[in-house]
């Protein structure tokens, strides 16, 4: 039954139960189990149905004593908080990018949208029908004007912001669900 006690001890360590308290609980448990076995009784007499699930048993005991989450230095709760902080940072950066980036101008939409490929002709510096005839190549083959390029960058930044915002919100939901799940030990 030492395996059972050791499994409990590992779970308490993972949950951040302070070592002196975990050692005390483990010692009490081991002594009770040893006494029961010396009397010919099974370990189930001592820990009930928890004998088949030491981690749930240890979690329930620590939770009922109010020990879970008290000293998470070696436990896993700090990882949850770190993940939560990271997701919150994602949401913040995403929101800033979305809110502070102006929408692309109409010209940019024309430039970066569907290619404008139709060619057209005009005569410069002369009345209609006079002078050289220039042919402007299709617009798709011309580099967009500076304003359109700036707006294209703005559009990309907004897209990145939306992605970060969504990823952060999904992450927060997952972390919250994980945290709530870990706080609900099996009832004994």
């Amino acid at each position: 039954m030492n395996d059972f006690v050791e499994e409990c001890r590992r779970e308490w360590k993972r949950l951040g139960v302070p070592d002196p308290i975990a050692n005390e609980m483990a010692a009490d448990l081991a002594a009770d189990i040893a006494e029961a076995e010396a009397e010919g009784a099974s370990a189930e007499t001592v820990v009930g149905s928890g004998a088949f699930d030491p981690r749930s048993f240890a979690r329930a005991w620590a939770a009922e004593r109010g020990l879970v989450g008290q000293a998470p230095a070696t436990g896993g709760r700090w990882k949850l908080w770190a993940a939560l902080a990271f997701c919150a940072a994602l949401v913040f950066v995403g929101a800033v990018l979305v809110l502070l980036t102006p929408a692309p101008s109409v010209q940019a939409r024309l430039a970066v949208g569907a290619p404008f490929t139709r060619s057209f002709h005009f005569r410069a510096g002369a009345p209609p029908g006079v002078g050289p005839r220039f042919v402007v190549p299709p617009m798709a083959s011309v580099a967009p004007p500076p304003l359109a390029r700036i707006d294209a960058v703005r559009s990309s930044v907004t897209t990145v912001g939306v992605v970060l915002l969504a990823a952060g919100l999904v992450g927060i939901a997952l972390v919250a669900a994980l945290g709530v799940g870990r706080r609900r030990p099996k009832a004994y």
């Binding site: 010692a27 099974s42 189930e44 009930g48 149905s49 009922e64 109010g66």
Partner: protein
């Protein structure tokens, strides 16, 4: 788990804290000692879970006091006894139990069911 066992588990779970306070009122006891006192009265917790989480809750709620002392020929054990709040909770709980028991007896007590063989 059979239906009867499940009901017994639910009934016991509702009053196990009172039972623990009652047996430790007879004299301070460590965990397994309480299990033995309950078993001597016909209450076995095998299959019903464990008393340790419940003792943890009683301790957290200030309903028990604890101290460590050497047991008979064994290692030092953690002994439990009811605190003043624990004794008040025990008195209130026993009163509630008796009221519920009387009401249930008035419904279930007269029932006699004959099963056709």
């Amino acid at each position: 788990m059979a239906v009867g066992e499940g009901r017994r588990t639910q009934l016991l779970r509702g009053v196990l804290d009172l039972c623990l306070l009652a047996v430790m009122q007879e004299g301070p006891a460590y965990g397994y000692e309480m299990t033995k006192r309950l078993r001597a009265r016909g209450l076995s917790i095998v299959g019903e879970g464990s008393i340790y989480p419940l003792l943890g809750r009683l301790e957290r709620e200030g309903l028990v006091e604890t101290y460590r002392a050497a047991s008979d020929g064994g290692p030092p054990r953690k002994y439990y006894r009811p605190s003043a709040d624990g004794l008040r909770a025990l008195a209130a709980g026993v009163s509630e139990w008796r009221t519920a028991r009387d009401a249930l007896d008035s419904v279930l007590g007269p029932v006699e069911v004959e099963m056709a063989s």
